[in-house]
C-alpha cells in the first residue's frame, strides 16, 4: 500500500488529528488565545465532516485492519455532528470557562479521532485500541473539573468500571483469537462457521459483550452510567450519552453481524432479553429521579434499549438495522438538544434539580419550549424525530413477528411519558419562585437551534434520513 492510498483511506482522520495537535500547540504556545481555541477545534471538526463525502468509497485499508463502508461512514457522520454540538455546548458551560480549556478541547478532538477509528475497525486489535482511546479520553473529560468532587467521583467510577470491562473484553478477544487463529473479523466469521458452536465461543462472546455493553450502557453493564452522567461536566454527559454510545453500537453491530454468524451461535435470544431489560429498567428507575442529568441518564439507558431492538432484529428483517440507525440519528438531536437546555438552566441557576425547573416557562420561554419539544420527541410523539424512530422500530418488530417486543416497547413508552412530562409539568404547570428572565449564550442558541431543526426535520420530512440509513446493506 502506498502512502497515497493511506491518505485516501484515512484523510479525514488525519485532518482531525492535525486539528487536535494544532489546538494543543496553540494552547501551549499562546495561552492568551484561549477564547479562539474551541472555535479552531470546531473548524477542524467541520472540515473533517466536509471531507467525509469524498472519502466514502468502499475499501479495505491497512491490511484489513480498517474498512470504509456505509456503516463506518454513517457512524462517522453521527460522531462528528455530536462532537461538534458538544464543543458548542462546552464553550458556554460556566464551570468549564477558563478551566484548562486547551487541554479540554484537545482531548475532545482526540476523542473524535478515536471514535472515527473505532467505527471503521474490522480487526480485534484495532477495535481494542480505538475503544481504549475513546474510553481514556472520556474518563479524562469526565474528571476534567478536578476541583469538583462529583466530577472526580464520576471519573473514578467510570474508570474502574470501564477498566474491568475492557480487561474482560480483551480476555474474550484473546479466546476468540485462540479459537480462530485470526484477528480479522471476517476471518473469524469463516473459522467460526467451520468449527461451529463451543462453550469457549460463547465465553468469548459474553466477555466481549461486557466491554461493548459497557460502552452503550446496556443493563447490567449500565451501572456506571447514572453516576458518571450526573457528575461529569454537562457537555460531556451529552457526549457520553450520544457519541460514545454510538461508537459502542457501531462496534457491537460489526462484531455481531460479521464475526458471530447466527448459524454458529444464536445470540438473538440473549440480546432480546438484554434489550427488554435495558429499556424497562432504564425507564422504571428514571421515574423517581429528581436531578435532570440523572433522569436523562436513565432515559438514555432506556433509549439504548430501543436501539437494541433494531440490533436484535437485524437478521430477521431488512428493516432492523436501518430502524436502529434512524432511531440513533433522531436520538442524537433530541438528546443533545435537551442537554443544551440543561446547560442554559444550570448556567443561570447553578442547579440541575427538576424542582428548580418550576415556572421556567416564564423565565426562559424559548429554552423551555425547546426542552419541551425535545422531551416530547423523546416520548415519541409525532410529528417529531422520536416518533419517526419509534415508528420504524415498531415496524421492524411487526415485520419480524416480534410482537412481544412491540408490546413491551409500547408499555415502556407509556412509562416514559410519566417522567418526561414531569419535567414539562414543572416548567409549564408549576409556579416558580422567581420571575427573573434567563438569558442564553450565543453558542448555546446555535446548538439548540441546530438540534431543534434536526428534531423537526426528521419528524416532518424523514426521507433523506431514511435514504441515509437505508444505505446499510443487510450483511455489510
Amino acid at each position: 500500500m502506498s502512502y497515497a492510498e493511506y491518505l485516501a483511506a484515512i484523510g479525514p482522520e488525519i485532518a482531525l488529528t492535525i486539528a487536535a495537535l494544532l489546538v494543543m500547540s496553540i494552547d501551549a504556545l499562546w495561552p492568551r488565545s484561549v477564547r479562539a481555541i474551541p472555535w479552531i477545534g470546531i473548524a477542524g471538526l467541520l472540515v473533517t465532516l466536509a471531507m467525509l463525502p469524498m472519502f466514502r468509497a468502499e475499501r479495505v485499508a491497512f491490511s484489513g485492519l480498517l474498512v470504509i463502508d456505509p456503516l463506518a461512514v454513517l457512524f462517522k457522520v453521527i460522531a462528528l455532528i455530536s462532537v461538534i454540538l458538544v464543543a458548542l455546548l462546552s464553550i458556554s458551560h460556566r464551570p468549564l470557562r477558563g478551566f484548562h480549556e486547551g487541554e479540554y478541547h484537545t482531548l475532545l478532538l482526540f476523542f473524535a479521532v478515536g471514535l472515527m477509528f473505532l467505527v471503521g475497525a474490522a480487526h480485534l486489535l484495532m477495535i481494542y485500541l480505538a475503544l481504549e482511546m475513546v474510553s481514556l479520553a472520556a474518563y479524562l473529560l469526565t474528571g476534567h473539573l478536578k476541583l469538583d468532587p462529583r466530577s472526580s467521583e464520576a471519573a473514578l467510577k467510570y474508570y474502574l468500571f470501564g477498566a474491568l470491562c475492557s480487561g474482560l473484553f480483551l480476555y474474550g478477544a484473546s479466546i476468540l483469537f485462540g479459537l480462530t487463529g485470526t484477528l480479522h473479523l471476517d476471518g473469524i466469521a469463516e473459522a467460526v462457521r467451520a468449527s461451529g458452536l463451543s462453550a469457549a465461543l460463547l465465553a468469548a462472546l459474553v466477555l466481549m459483550l461486557i466491554g461493548l455493553g459497557f460502552k452503550i450502557a446496556m443493563v447490567p453493564f449500565h451501572l456506571w452510567a447514572p453516576d458518571a452522567y450526573e457528575g461529569a461536566p454537562t457537555p460531556i454527559t451529552a457526549l457520553l450519552s450520544v457519541a460514545s454510545k454510538a461508537g459502542g453500537f457501531a462496534v457491537l453491530l460489526r462484531v455481531l453481524a460479521v464475526a458471530f454468524p447466527l448459524e454458529a451461535l444464536d445470540w438473538q435470544p440473549m440480546l432480546w432479553v438484554l434489550c427488554v431489560v435495558t429499556m424497562s429498567l432504564g425507564n422504571v428507575i428514571a421515574v423517581r429521579q429528581g436531578n435532570i442529568k440523572r433522569l436523562l441518564a436513565y432515559s438514555s439507558i432506556a433509549q439504548a434499549g430501543y436501539v437494541l431492538v433494531g440490533v436484535v432484529l437485524m437478521r430477521q428483517t431488512p428493516a432492523g438495522l436501518p430502524s436502529a440507525m434512524i432511531y440513533l440519528i433522531a436520538y442524537l438531536f433530541m438528546n443533545i438538544g435537551a442537554f443544551a437546555v440543561v446547560i442554559v438552566v444550570s448556567n443561570a441557576l447553578g442547579s440541575d434539580k427538576i424542582e428548580d425547573y418550576r415556572g421556567l416557562a416564564r423565565r426562559a420561554p424559548l429554552a423551555s419550549a425547546s426542552l419541551a419539544v425535545f422531551l416530547v420527541s423523546l416520548t415519541g410523539i409525532p410529528p417529531l424525530a422520536g416518533f419517526i424512530g419509534k415508528f420504524y422500530l415498531f415496524a421492524a418488530t411487526i415485520d419480524a413477528h416480534a410482537y412481544w417486543l412491540a408490546v413491551i416497547m409500547g408499555v415502556n413508552s407509556v412509562v416514559a411519558a410519566f417522567y418526561y412530562f414531569r419535567v414539562v409539568r414543572a416548567m409549564y404547570l408549576d409556579a416558580g419562585k422567581s420571575e427573573e428572565p434567563i438569558g442564553t449564550a450565543r453558542p448555546l442558541q446555535v446548538a439548540v437551534g441546530v438540534t431543534l431543526l434536526g428534531t423537526f426535520v426528521i419528524g416532518v420530512w424523514p426521507q433523506p434520513f431514511l435514504l441515509f440509513a437505508a444505505a446499510l446493506p443487510l450483511g455489510f
Partner: protein, 105 residues
C-alpha cells in the same frame, strides 16, 4: 515443550484472581492492580495462542503484536487511572471506594 493447556489454566486463574480483587479491594489502587492482573492474563493468553495455534503466515505475529499493544495501552490506562485517583485523593482525602458515594440511587 509445555503444551497449550497449562498456560490457559494459568491465565484463567489470573483472570479469576483479578476479578476477585476488583470486587473486594476497598482501595481504588488495589482495584487498579487487580485489573492489571486481568490484562496480563489476556496478554499471556494471546502469546500462548500465538505460539501454539495454527495461523496464516500473514498473522504469525498477530498474537504477540496484540499482546505488545495491550501492554502499551495498559500502561497508558494505568497512568490515566492513577491521575484520577490522585484527583479523588485531593478532593476527598481517601482512595477507598466504599467511602466515595456522593452520587447514588
Amino acid at each position: 515443550m509445555i503444551p497449550l493447556a497449562p498456560f490457559l489454566v494459568v491465565s484463567a486463574a489470573l483472570v479469576a484472581i483479578g476479578v476477585f480483587g476488583a470486587l473486594t479491594r476497598r482501595s481504588a489502587l488495589g482495584i487498579l492492580m487487580s485489573i492489571e492482573l486481568i490484562i496480563n492474563a489476556a496478554a499471556l493468553n494471546l502469546v500462548a495462542f500465538s505460539q501454539h495455534i495454527r495461523t496464516s503466515d500473514a498473522e504469525s505475529t498477530a498474537g504477540q503484536m496484540f499482546a505488545l499493544f495491550a501492554m502499551a495501552i495498559a500502561a497508558a490506562a494505568a497512568a490515566v487511572g492513577l491521575s484520577i485517583v490522585i484527583c479523588i485523593y485531593r478532593n476527598s482525602k481517601t482512595v477507598n471506594v466504599d467511602k466515595i458515594d456522593l452520587m447514588r440511587w
